[in-house]
C-alpha cells in the first residue's frame, strides 16, 4: 500500500485526466476521441506543453516563476520571421539563432535573479514588458508571413509514411509498436536489475498493470494517428523533450541538484552545490524552451505577430501547478507538467466541442487550478503541519 501512498499525487492526476477524458467522451458522443480531434488537441496545446516543461523546472527551483515566457515566445516568433522571411536565412540556421536569443533572454533573467539577488517576480515582470516591447519594435507593428513550408512543417506537418499506407498510416503503427517494445524491454531490464541489487521493485501486479496500461495507451495512439494523417511532427518533438527532461530531472546529478536547491537552498549550498548556478541555468533553459514554443506557435499560425503569446506564462504556470508543482519549490515532475497541461487542454477542447463558450472554459480552468492545489495542500497537511505561507520564494516573494 505504501507504494500507492507515495505516488498518490501522480496517480490522482492521471486518474483525473482519464475521468475527465471519459466524461467528455460520453458528453460529446465520442467526438473528442476521434482521431482527427486527437491530432488537433496535440497541435493546439503543443506550445503550452513545451512551456510547461520549463516552467515546472523554474517552480521546482524554490518556488520561483517566470512571467516573461509569453513575451520571449513573441520575440522568438518575431525573430524567426526576420531571419527566415525577411533575411532569407536557411531554416536550420534561423532556428539555432532564435534558440540562442531565447537563451540570452533567459540568461538576462538568471543573472539578475541568481547573481544579483533581485526578486524573481520583479525581474521576470520587467522582462515580460521588456521583451514584449522588443518584439513589437522588431516587427514594427506588422505581422510577418507566410513562412516557407519547411518551417511550417515543424508545427503542422506529419511524419511521412514510408510504408505507403493508403487508408491507414502504417508508419504511426510501426513507431508506436517500436516504442511499446522499447518500454517493455526497459521496464523488464530495470526490474531484473532491481532484483539483482536486492532492491524492492514495484509489486508484480502493479508492474503488469503498468505495462498493460502503457501498451494500451500506445496502441490507442497508434490507432488515432494511424487513422488520421499519421504522427504529427510536433508529437515527435514533444516526445523527445519529455524523455530528455524527465531523464535529466530524475536520473542525472543536474536533476538532483535542481530538486535539492529547490527544496532547501541553504542545505544544498553547504553540501557543495552551486545553487546560484543551478538557478541561473534553470532560467536559461526556460528561455530556450520559450523560444522553441514561440517558433512552434509561429509555425502553426504561419505568421509572426507582435501580440503572440499573451497569457502563455499563466497557462504554463497553471499547468505546472495542476500537474503537482509545489509553491514552496522542491517538488514536481516533468510528466506532471505535461499531464497538467493536457488536463487543461482536454477541458478546453471538450467544452469547445460541447459548444461551451471560451469564457466558461476560463472559469473552469481557474477552478480546476484552485481545486488541484487545495487538494495538494490538504493532502500534505494531513501528513504534517500546514506549510507556513512564509516559507518559500513564491509565497513570500523571496
Amino acid at each position: 500500500m505504501s507504494y500507492i501512498k507515495d505516488n498518490l499525487r501522480q496517480y490522482g492526476l492521471i486518474v483525473a485526466l482519464v475521468v475527465i477524458a471519459l466524461f467528455f467522451q460520453i458528453m460529446t458522443n465520442g467526438v473528442i476521441f476521434r482521431p482527427a480531434n486527437i491530432t488537433n488537441l496535440i497541435l493546439q496545446n503543443s506550445y503550452i506543453l513545451v512551456l510547461a516543461i520549463g516552467m515546472m523546472m523554474v517552480i521546482i527551483s524554490f518556488g520561483r516563476v517566470d512571467l516573461s515566457v509569453g513575451s520571449i515566445a513573441a520575440l522568438a516568433g518575431a525573430m524567426s520571421g526576420i531571419f527566415i522571411v525577411r533575411m532569407d536565412l536557411p531554416v536550420w540556421l534561423s532556428i539555432i539563432f532564435v534558440l540562442v536569443i531565447g537563451a540570452a533572454c533567459g540568461a538576462w533573467h538568471g543573472f539578475w535573479i541568481a547573481y544579483r539577488n533581485i526578486p524573481f517576480f520583479v525581474v521576470t515582470l520587467a522582462g515580460m514588458m521588456l521583451f514584449r516591447g522588443v518584439a513589437m519594435i522588431v516587427l514594427d507593428g506588422t505581422n510577418i508571413g507566410p513562412f516557407p513550408s519547411s518551417f511550417q512543417m515543424m508545427a503542422a506537418g506529419f511524419v511521412p509514411d514510408i510504408f505507403g499506407g493508403t487508408s491507414f498510416n502504417i508508419m504511426a503503427v510501426v513507431i508506436c509498436a517500436a516504442i511499446a517494445l522499447a518500454v517493455i524491454l526497459l521496464e523488464f531490464r530495470k526490474r531484473a536489475i532491481s532484483r539483482k541489487n536486492k532492491v524492492d521493485a514495484i509489486p508484480l501486479p502493479f508492474f503488469i498493470a503498468k505495462i498493460v496500461l502503457v501498451v494500451a495507451t500506445l496502441g490507442l495512439f497508434a490507432y488515432w494517428f494511424g487513422a488520421s494523417n499519421g504522427i504529427p511532427n510536433i508529437m515527435v518533438l514533444l516526445g523527445i523533450l519529455a524523455v530528455i527532461y524527465s531523464y535529466i530531472a530524475n536520473k542525472t546529478i543536474m536533476g538532483r541538484h535542481l530538486y535539492a536547491a529547490g527544496g532547501n537552498p541553504k542545505t544544498s549550498e553547504l553540501s557543495g552545490i552551486d545553487v546560484k548556478k543551478v538557478v541561473f541555468w534553470v532560467y536559461v533553459n526556460m528561455g530556450v524552451l520559450a523560444a522553441l514554443a514561440g517558433m512552434v506557435f509561429t509555425a502553426r499560425l504561419n505568421l509572426a505577430m507582435p501580440r503572440a503569446g499573451m497569457g502563455f506564462e499563466l497557462q504554463a504556470i497553471a499547468a505546472a501547478f495542476i500537474g503537482g508543482a509545489s509553491a514552496t519549490g522542491g517538488f514536481g515532475k516533468i510528466s506532471g507538467a505535461l499531464v497538467g497541461a493536457m488536463v487543461v487542454g482536454i477541458i478546453n477542447n471538450g467544452m469547445s466541442i460541447l459548444g461551451v463558450s471560451v469564457n466558461m472554459q476560463q472559469i473552469i480552468t481557474g477552478l480546476v487550478l484552485l481545486a488541484a492545489v487545495i487538494f495538494d495542500v490538504f493532502a500534505k497537511s494531513r501528513a504534517e503541519k500546514p506549510p507556513s505561507l512564509e516559507s518559500s520564494a513564491l509565497s513570500q516573494g523571496e
Binding site: D200, I253, Y259, N264
Partner: protein, 503 residues
C-alpha cells in the same frame, strides 16, 4: 503585587514529555533565575506561563496573587502583567522603535493612533531603559543589544508586574550585558518581579535572589542565592556522573594532519567587524579536539569559514592538510579536499526535509555515484542501506522522508551524508543538539569510531560536559579569539570558564 506559582506543570509534544510535573515559585519583587541544560524545558515552561501554549494544552495550574490563572493567549497573560521577552526577538525590522514598542498595544482612540503621545511615552521608556536612540529610528538599524532594550521597553509599556526574560544576554557583548543586568536590578527596586533564564551562570549568581534548576523536564531543586558558586549550580544541572555518559576511546594518535594558521575572518555584511581574529590550531590524526566557548564566541563562524568560505568575507590565513596548503575557493572544493562540516541547525542547513533518507545521504557525494550520464540509483540505495545499518538509523527503510524521523535519527542521516563524502577532517557543530540521551550516546560511539579510523574530528559544543567528556584536547574561544588550550587532564568546567573570564 504577589507571588507567582506554577504547580505540577506537565506538557507533551506528541509522544515526547517536555515537562513532567514542574513546580516553580517566583517571590514578589525578587529576581528568580531558572537554569538547566539545553532541552531541560526552560523555554517551554515560560511559553506556558505567557500563554503561548494556552490553558488546556498542558496539565497543572498557575497561581498569581493567589488566584488560579488560565491564559488563553499572550494578550491574556499580559493583561495580568506577565510579560515575556522571547529568545528570538519579536521585533519588526522595518518599523521604528516607537512603533515596535507599542505594537499590539497602540496608543489609540477609536483605532486612530496618537503619535504625539506614542513618541512622548517612547522617549520616557527609552530614558528608563537607558537607550539613547531617536524613537523614529528603524529597529533594523540598531544593534542586537539595543534591540534587547527595546524589547524591555516594550514590556514596560504594558505595565509589567512579572518580567520573563529568555536568554536575554545570549547575543550581547560584555558591556551590553552589564547594562542589561543593571537595568534588571533597577526594575527590581521598582517592585517588578523578574524571571531570568540564562546559560551564563556568572550573571545568574550576580543578580538573582533565588535559583531554580530544571533537568530533563523536572524541577530538581530550588535554593536562595546565598553562598552558592557555579560548581554548585552545575552539579545540579548535570546531576548524573559525567564520566559515565561518554564511551571510552583508546586510539593511537598520529601526526598533525590538519592545521590552521593565522585565520582571520570579517563579518560578511559589516565590512570592518572582525569575527575571527588570528586563530591558530591543529588536529592530529585520530584525535578528537573540542572547541568550547559561549554563544557568540565565533565557533560556528570559524568552522564555516574553514569550510570553503561558507561564512564571512576577507578571509585570510592558511589551512594545511598533510603538509599541503589548501586553497579553498568554494564549498565543493572543501568537500573534495576531505573536509566536512556538520551544521548546528540540521533542519535549516543540514537536511532536505521533504526528501528521502537515501537522497539526503547521497547529496554531498553524488559524483561517486555517477555512471556515464546518470546517477546509479541502485548503488545509491545500497550505500544508504549500508549507512542506515552502520549508524543505526531507525526508520522503515531508506525511502522514508526525513521530516518524519526523530531528532536523533535525523542527526544520524546528516552524519551519514558526511561520512559518505569520505572526509579526513570532520567539523561537528553541536552534534547532539536536540537529540535524546540514548541517541547522544550512539553519536559519541560514531565519533569514537571515526577517531579510530584515523580521522581528525573537531567537536563544537555549548555543553561543557560534552566537550570535556569527548575531547582529547580542548581549545577555548571567546569573542573570535583562541583564549586557551587545555589537555584532557586539565579540562574542567572551571578551567574553561576561567579561560573565558580571564581573557
Amino acid at each position: 503585587m504577589g507571588t507567582l506559582e506554577m504547580k505540577s506543570i506537565t506538557k507533551r509534544f506528541d509522544r515526547v514529555l517536555a515537562l513532567n510535573g514542574v513546580n516553580l515559585t517566583a517571590a514578589d519583587g525578587k529576581i528568580l533565575a531558572v537554569v538547566g541544560e539545553n532541552g531541560a524545558g526552560k523555554s517551554t515552561l515560560m511559553k506556558i506561563l505567557s500563554g503561548v501554549y494556552p490553558h488546556g494544552e498542558y496539565e497543572g495550574e498557575i497561581f498569581y496573587k493567589g488566584e488560579a490563572c488560565r491564559f488563553r493567549d499572550i494578550k491574556d497573560s499580559e493583561k495580568r502583567g506577565i510579560v515575556i521577552i522571547h529568545q528570538e526577538l519579536a521585533l519588526i525590522p522595518y518599523l521604528s522603535i516607537s512603533e515596535n514598542i507599542f505594537l499590539g498595544n497602540e496608543q489609540a482612540k477609536n483605532g486612530v493612533i496618537n503619535w504625539h503621545l506614542t513618541y512622548q511615552k517612547t522617549a520616557e521608556l527609552l530614558e528608563k531603559v537607558g537607550l539613547k536612540e531617536n524613537p523614529h529610528t528603524l529597529v533594523e538599524n540598531i544593534g542586537v543589544g539595543k534591540q534587547q532594550l527595546v524589547e524591555i521597553a516594550k514590556a514596560l509599556s504594558k505595565r509589567v508586574e512579572v518580567l520573563v526574560l529568555d536568554e536575554p544576554t545570549a547575543a550581547l557583548n560584555d558591556i551590553e550585558s552589564e547594562n542589561l543586568l543593571t537595568l534588571l536590578l533597577e526594575l527590581k527596586k521598582e517592585g517588578i518581579t523578574s524571571i531570568l533564564i540564562s546559560h551564563k551562570l556568572n550573571e545568574v549568581l550576580k543578580i538573582s535572589d533565588q535559583i531554580t534548576i530544571l533537568r530533563d523536564g523536572k524541577t530538581v531543586e530550588s535554593f536562595p542565592n546565598e553562598n552558592v558558586d557555579e560548581n554548585r549550580i552545575i552539579r545540579g544541572m548535570v546531576g548524573r556522573d559525567i564520566l559515565d555518559r561518554f564511551p571510552a576511546r583508546d586510539v593511537e594518535q598520529g601526526e598533525v594532519m590538519f592545521e590552521v594558521k593565522d585565520w582571520t575572518v570579517y563579518h560578511p555584511e559589516i565590512a570592518d567587524k572582525k569575527v575571527i581574529d588570528n586563530i591558530n590550531f591543529h588536529v592530529k590524526k585520530g584525535e578528537v579536539v573540542g572547541i568550547a566557548g559561549l554563544m557568540g564566541a565565533g565557533r560556528t563562524e570559524l568552522a564555516m569559514s574553514l569550510f570553503g568560505g561558507a561564512y564571512g568575507s576577507k578571509i585570510t590565513g592558511t589551512i594545511i592538510k598533510d603538509g599541503k596548503t589548501l586553497m579553498l575557493k568554494s564549498i565543493s572544493q572543501a568537500i573534495e579536499n576531505g573536509i566536512a562540516y556538520l551544521t548546528e541547525d540540521r533542519k535549516q542547513y543540514g537536511l532536505l526535509l521533504d526528501e528521502t533518507i537515501c537522497r539526503n545521504i547521497s547529496l554531498a557525494n553524488l559524483k561517486s555515484l555517477n555512471t556515464g550520464l546518470a546517477v546509479d540509483e541502485f548503488k545509491e540505495k545500497r550505500v544508504a542501506e549500508d549507512y542506515r545499518g552502520k549508524v543505526d538509523i531507525r526508520s522503515r527503510d531508506v525511502q522514508q522522508h526525513v521530516k518524519n524521523l526523530s531528532g536523533g535519527n535525523q542527526q544520524k542521516v546528516v552524519l551519514s551524508k558526511w561520512l559518505f563524502a569520505d572526509p579526513e577532517t570532520l567539523i561537528l557543530d553541536e552534534p547532539t543538539r536536540g537529540v535524546d540521551v540514548g541517541a547522544k550516546y550512539e553519536i559519541y560511539l560514531i565519533i569514537n569510531e571515526l577517531a579510530k579510523q584515523g580521522k581528525c574530528v573537531i567537536v563544537i559544543s555549548s555543553e561543557l560536559p560534552e566537550v570535556i567528556g569527548l575531547s582529547d584536547r580542548i581549545y577555548v574561544m571567546n569573542e573570535g579569539k583562541m583564549v586557551g588550550e587545555l589537555s584532557k587532564e586539565e579540562a574542567t568546567q572551571e578551567a574553561i570558564m576561567e579561560c573565558i573570564m580571564n581573557h
